[in-house]
Symmetry: C2
Subunit: 408 residues, 2 copies
């Protein structure tokens, strides 16, 4: 199959010939609409005209960064990594990852389950929606995906095969290296420069060498710590959910990286929502729900990760009986503390980069009132700084919550 | 070309057809002899009968671990990594790496410069040979090979290409994971069990959970920290030298690993020699030379690595002007301290594994007198323990020397 960038019409033509589409929709007439609002790809919904509840999602990568335009070239190979990651994660957690119906690396295209009854978490949180099962679900997702792709579960040969599969997601890793760890802390033309210009908070951030040195350490960790397969962009815009179900989507940034990176991204985005509500709605109850969620996610993750680890006596890292029971418990406990630390470090970077960098978040950049927006920015920078300056010495999740609450 | 395991006769036949051999030796008659005493491969010397100074080395990998025998299967693919690493290192440092005349990944074979005027460093040190240029040479070798293959020099895409080239050196990395970080600290049939049995020092080591937990951390670093291309087995048996020249050979264990791994291997083997002379020759002058060499290697490495780094304003890690001058200096200084720390941690593991594990070193396992040998073992275990328990908090090379001297 030769690659061709599709539009609504050619997409309809393309999919009508596919067996899976015929199986799924039978003889129904189909409609196609483009619904993508992401930064990278085009996303289409294909619906049955007879039964609009019958629908699938088609996602195609194009040769450029959608949110910037055709002048920002970006290889469509990224879809290969998204497909590979979706399949891996689905394998471990079929109830948290959309089902794939069709994939083509040639066409940089994937057809998958339509999540019609689910909403993007970022929007839900802005609207103060409480998701009673979220912490339970996402902690399972994190524990399973991170553990089963790590050297704590895999043998060395399998781990190296996994590295082979994801090592060349070069361009999207580079986006993170640039946008999360570099350009958001210095003068740069990709920044939100309307806000940056003559903004004392931006000036202060860009000149905060102590903070930026720590960011550089985190960038180095990001680039060189090959713990496990991470989603790579696990913000609340990559989560679709409702009261019962939680799905993680869009793993095109997937790569072999640090344990803490996905956890950190998630914490950062829960904090962004907390900041929004601290400044805009001032809803203490919802703020507490968010804090509680952060605590639960971190603590449940640890419990579940350790449960998986305890079942695994042999791996690349461990052979049975190398350590005695007590020493193994201490070793694991220290190991988990380091994951927590890295997570909070990465969360700090992820919060700060959204303030002045490219691709701000709705919760903060979307605040219409200028005074409130600036208040939110200051709060974000304060929490981020606490996280980044102190993550290496954190002892427990209580300290994380204290840092968030005390910054307010 | 189809792979065929060669012997002296078929080797002669094979090389006589090669253009490079005809060029190098002209019409001279050739003799071939097997001279390998390593653990893995067969090594032949090809000489001109007319002028025995004209000679080349031919190295061929076989499908098993030579030192154990045909029952220990080991893919000959390892030669691909050796060839790739030799070429990379030669590229940066043609005066410290043997020249390659011919290579064939199909035949798992490489023909290279014969180092007839050089001796294996391990043997030289046992005989109390002083090498006046060694610290200077090896610190250059380490600084260049480690820096130029790291994210401090390379851009991210080039770094990922390098990872692709070496990621699948799975089997030899696994040998290190097993023999350096695992089996040498527990009951295992590959150990030197004649010595292990009813040996209280072995029992103490195998039950030292505090020490073994730290070893496990070092193993994890080895498996997941992708700083740069390392030689992977840089002991004094992989160094051939004389008063003027120093060559590093045998990089078949090359992989993308931690900065500190090669430095640690080298320090460990200098310490092994120090232990030998502490117990056997009691030559204080030579012991001081060894201590001085350790200090020089560590300090010169740092100076030279920083010199290269200072010239490199842009890399995967850094963009120019991200940090101000002072902060960059502090950042680099902290970075170098971490390399020193990891080096000493790895050195500790490398010393301990030689005591009871497979493949002991001549300096210690080769001591004929049982009492002296046990003394050397105890000293090795004591220094190793100091290194492994304290490496994370080291401040400078002085502390390293103190640990060695105080253990004696």
């Amino acid at each position: 199959m030769q690659y061709k960038e599709l539009d609504v019409d050619s997409m309809l033509e393309f999919i009508q010939d596919l067996e899976v589409i015929q199986e799924y929709f039978g003889s129904d007439e189909l409609s196609v609409a483009e619904i993508g609002d992401g930064n990278l790809n085009y996303v289409y919904i294909v619906k049955s005209k007879q039964d609009p509840k019958k629908a699938l999602i088609v996602k195609q990568a194009v040769e450029y960064l959608r949110c910037v335009g055709e002048e920002y070239a970006l290889s469509r190979e990224r879809m290969n990594f998204e497909i590979r990651a979706l399949k891996k994660f689905y394998h471990y957690l079929p109830s948290f990852v959309p089902k794939i119906y069709f994939e083509s690396e040639d066409m940089s295209l994937v057809i998958m389950q339509y999540l019609g009854d689910h909403e993007i978490m970022r929007k839900g949180l802005i609207e103060k929606t409480i998701y009673p099962n979220f912490s339970e679900h996402i902690s399972t997702y994190l524990a399973f995906t991170l553990f089963y792709t790590s050297s704590l579960y895999l043998q060395s040969d399998k781990k190296r095969e996994l590295i082979d599969e994801f090592n060349k997601n070069t361009q999207l890793c580079k986006l993170t290296e640039d946008f999360v760890f570099t350009t958001a802390y210095m003068e740069h033309d990709t920044n939100d420069n309307e806000n940056v210009e003559s903004n004392p908070d931006a000036k202060k951030l860009f000149e905060d060498m102590e903070f930026k040195s720590k960011i550089l350490n985190l960038k180095y960790k990001f680039m060189t710590q090959t713990d496990c397969l991470v989603h790579g962009d696990l913000h609340t815009g990559s989560i679709m959910l409702n009261q019962d179900e939680t799905f993680v989507i869009d793993p095109e940034f997937a790569f072999i990286g640090p344990f803490g990176f996905d956890i950190g991204a998630l914490v950062a985005n829960l904090v962004n929502s907390y900041i929004h509500h601290s400044v805009v709605t001032k809803d203490e109850e919802f703020k507490n729900y968010l804090l509680e969620t952060i605590k639960e996610v971190l603590e449940l993750f640890e419990v579940k990760f350790l449960e998986l680890w305890d079942k695994q006596k042999e791996s690349a890292l461990l052979v049975d009986d190398f350590l005695d029971e007590d020493s193994l418990i201490s070793f694991k406990s220290e190991f988990m503390k380091n994951i927590l630390r890295d997570s909070i470090g990465f969360a700090g970077a992820k919060i700060a980069r959204r303030v002045f960098g490219v691709a701000g978040v709705e919760e903060i950049r979307g605040i219409k009132d200028k005074v409130l927006k600036q208040k939110a920015e200051v709060l974000a920078l304060r929490i981020s700084r606490e996280f980044v300056m102190k993550y290496e010495n954190l002892k427990n999740t209580e300290e994380v919550l204290e840092m968030i609450k005390n910054a307010g």
